[in-house]
Symmetry: C2
Subunit: 521 residues, 2 copies
């Protein structure tokens, strides 16, 4: 049947959807138990008649449908012995999203081209994107429509190309719109955030405990690690449940004033966790994405005041005071567009804060500070008090010295510990963080003074030891800048759950002598 092609001004006589729906073939589903994160995968026999009739290619993208549900999946073809000719083996995300049961029938069709990928290409070539283009990208990512290869192009395009304020605000808006948005009865809602890049530095649980103990509302959601050995969500997960839904989060905040939840599980700005997984695989961060991620999470969480910790140091994420101030200005300006007050706090990022690096090891530092343990890391206690005092002063409009005093009192008196335990109990119960079965001490080769600590190499050693996936893995630092050491003195202890990982971290440490620099004086 000939199809009439209209002139430039003509309307389309055929809707693509209707033609498109007319084809495809049915397959019986099998659950593979295959973990593929946000990219749905489907395995089919290479001689499957539908692959032949539809012209599906291995590693091509196909659309799977079950009733009203559909997913975009990447196809892999396999040989004999794994699947029958009419079977489709589904990865976990495909299985869940299609809401199928074993032996259900699904339909496989050619997907329509994802128009938002044109916008990703435009950004890759340095063009500005509109609110509409950014919304479509974020919506497609949120609905798991991007393959990992496409996500990698998105991350690379957004990391490598400049973003102006309007675009960053539009990206923020798109990320807020893609998820849930909370509202609280309190007029003032406090929040804090660290832009990261400094190992350890686990002040968030302490600040939340102190500020909630002071009677303020602070519904804190945190992310998992991007390129570091632990994020606050990873650390809290060694002590309580962080994977709580919105209903439970409301109850926790109503009863305690605070919470320490994982942002992904309450689906505030849900695109973020998908993007973060690829940023982690590529070890790439992007400033516009970072600003949009922070501000969108705070706006979606219903916060009114955010204190922003920006550690600056030669091996921190932010290398200079100027870069820190530029980032702060960007965050303040984007926050303003959403009625969110942002107070930047430029802090010392020359060495790790606290002693532990890794989920459980950082949790142990936090507990020591809350419990007023004489062995508690003083740098972590002091920084947490400074942040909490500043946040109380910022939200309440009160004198900062007075608020610092109050923050220190709440910690000393045990009120902060009590509040922290109340939050953990409300989130599902408190447990002590686990201890790693394998440990190995790294010592100084000669007498001298600790002249430098490379945050990035140290974080990498902790990650090679297994953090953050292995909860008890990481390392404990025994020295600070300026300390005098003798040959044989312990510098840090590597902790691991798997011998292979621990050995590999040790090999990395021995090959990178600049992790901790010891001057010969």
């Amino acid at each position: 049947m000939p199809l009439e092609l209209p002139g430039s001004a003509g309307a389309s006589p055929l809707a693509p959807q209707s033609s498109h729906d007319a084809h495809g073939g049915t397959l019986r589903v099998r659950r593979l138990g295959l973990e593929s994160q946000s990219e749905p995968l489907v395995l089919m026999h290479k001689d499957c008649p539908i692959c032949r009739s539809e012209g599906f290619q291995s590693r091509g993208r196909i659309e799977l449908r079950h009733g009203e549900r559909s997913v975009l999946a990447t196809l892999y073809q396999v040989g004999d012995g794994f699947l029958a000719l009419d079977e489709a083996g589904l990865s976990e995300i495909a299985w869940t999203r299609l809401e199928v049961a074993e032996d259900d029938e699904i339909v496989a069709v050619h997907p329509r081209a994802l128009e938002s990928l044109s916008a990703v290409r435009a950004k890759l070539y340095g063009r500005r994107l509109s609110q509409q283009q950014l919304s479509t990208i974020i919506s497609d990512i949120t609905h798991e429509r991007y393959s990992d290869v496409e996500l990698a192009a998105f991350v690379a395009a957004f990391a490598g190309q400049p973003f102006d304020l309007a675009e960053t605000a539009a990206l923020t808006d798109a990320m807020v719109s893609a998820g849930e948005r909370l509202a609280w009865t309190a007029e003032l809602v406090a929040d804090k955030h660290s832009i990261g890049g400094l190992p350890g530095n686990r002040t968030t649980p302490l600040v939340v405990a102190i500020v909630a103990a002071a009677g303020l509302t602070i519904p804190k959601t945190s992310s998992r690690a991007i390129t570091s050995p632990a994020g606050t969500a990873d650390v809290m997960e060694t002590m309580t449940s962080v994977d709580i839904d919105l209903g439970l989060m409301r109850e926790v905040v109503d009863s305690t004033g605070g919470c320490l939840a994982w942002g992904g599980s309450v689906r505030l700005s849900p695109a973020d966790d998908i993007i973060i997984r690829i940023e982690r695989a590529l070890d790439v961060d992007c400033e516009a994405q970072l600003v949009a991620s922070v501000i969108s999470k705070k706006v979606a969480a219903g916060s009114t005041h955010v204190l922003l910790d920006i550690p600056v140091g030669p091996t921190a994420k932010v290398r200079s005071a100027e870069a820190g101030e530029a980032l702060a200005a960007n965050l303040v300006a984007v926050g303003e567009r959403f009625g969110l007050k942002v107070s930047p706090f430029i802090s010392d990022g020359s060495q790790p804060i606290g002693r532990g690096l890794g989920p459980a090891l950082e949790a142990r530092d936090v507990l020591k500070v809350l419990r007023n343990d004489p062995d508690a890391p003083e740098d972590l206690r002091s920084k947490a008090v400074s942040l909490a005092g500043r946040l109380l002063s910022f939200v309440l409009g009160r004198d900062e010295a007075e608020m610092l005093e109050q923050a220190a009192d709440l910690l000393r008196s045990g009120a902060a510990l009590e509040k922290f335990m109340a939050i953990c109990t409300a989130q599902g119960g408190f447990r002590e963080p686990p201890v790693a079965p394998l440990q190995s001490i790294v010592t100084a080769s000669h007498n001298g003074r600790i002249a430098s600590i490379d945050n990035r190499l140290l974080a990498r050693a902790a990650k090679l030891a297994g953090a953050p996936a292995a909860k008890s893995a990481g390392l404990v630092l025994h020295v600070s800048l300026g300390d005098q050491v003798l040959a044989g003195d312990p510098l840090f202890t590597l902790h691991g759950e798997a011998p292979g990982e621990l050995e590999y971290a040790l090999a990395f440490v021995s090959a990178n002598s600049t992790i901790i620099g010891i001057s010969n004086q």
Copy 2:
């Protein structure tokens, strides 16, 4: 056992390799028949003891070893019923590279970090790369050490960031060094290349046939399609074997003076085909990569003179004469560094050349020209004669008008056809290109004049119809710019092998009325 960390000046007491080798576990291999192109994949049971003891995570990267062979693979974990606890299911590329047989034992260990990825990140942030950094990237890509996600970041970084001449030359050098390099007895070795972007335009088989018939040496290697419905290798594959090894390629050139081989199978600049697969998935091209790809293939092929066709038009790859000249200058300059003489040929890229789009349909146009068929597309014949005449004049230093006459004579006399058949026979035998089982005609909706043809939309329609994977799929154009048409006149015919693909191409055509613009006069 404590490990001594040396001071900044100290040497490493432990070699990473030795420590690293001490761990890992053995698995029995199973061949999955899983097609995963250049990314080795391994499937393991999620409760596999080695995953547990080593801390391997689904979608993590692991190193597999078998004797002296090793591959970097992406791990997927699956549930019960597909693999035993001690089995590793391998994709085809992993199976081939490890040189294993069913039930062989392999070792799985944590891989060392791929240092060249730091250079990809540096490029992503706009920094210049050194020869050493580029060589390491290309070597790792050639040895299939990059996952697809990492390849996507590479493609995005190189597409989005500026490249200077020195860097482009260094990338070219790295690509030459990663593969084979040919030498010929002839002092003068001719070559031609089109930078593409114009559908059809299948002049290469004609130019090779004419120039070889004139007695010159022209050992032509071509790539497969990147973002177009067909590359020269795809077209030639419908008529003969293009997947020939270096030995056979030498024999073909020795006996006929020319050849029409796929560049990937002779491993000239082998990184190219891996990169092209990801560029195609993302629909992204990169100029530095394009220059390095073209020049490296010509240098590796041992060419001395290359004629470069650069089609320029509003919907071609190169949009303006200025852009075409800038690209030409870049190609000439990089070629010069390798002693390769490059002659640019800026041509009309305002509409497709020839009538067919897609491997077999373009092959049919080529055969009609060679056979002096009265129905042969005149634009294709005339452009091929111009290119061949110019190339003969460029290589031999002879008068261009005289050489144009000779080129036309060689075609008219049947000498070019005879040479083409001799090349096909030497490559494994000639066959007629296949005809698609499904065809659908698209007609004009009203009377008027053909005012515009959108190369990109037309190429996309041909690809949706199945080209280049479905060899006989694509489309045949029935009109040219300026033609008068009546309502109901055929504009083009879509060809397909699968009903789903053909229907989808039709839907795309009906939704995109600007593919062929008909003015109302």
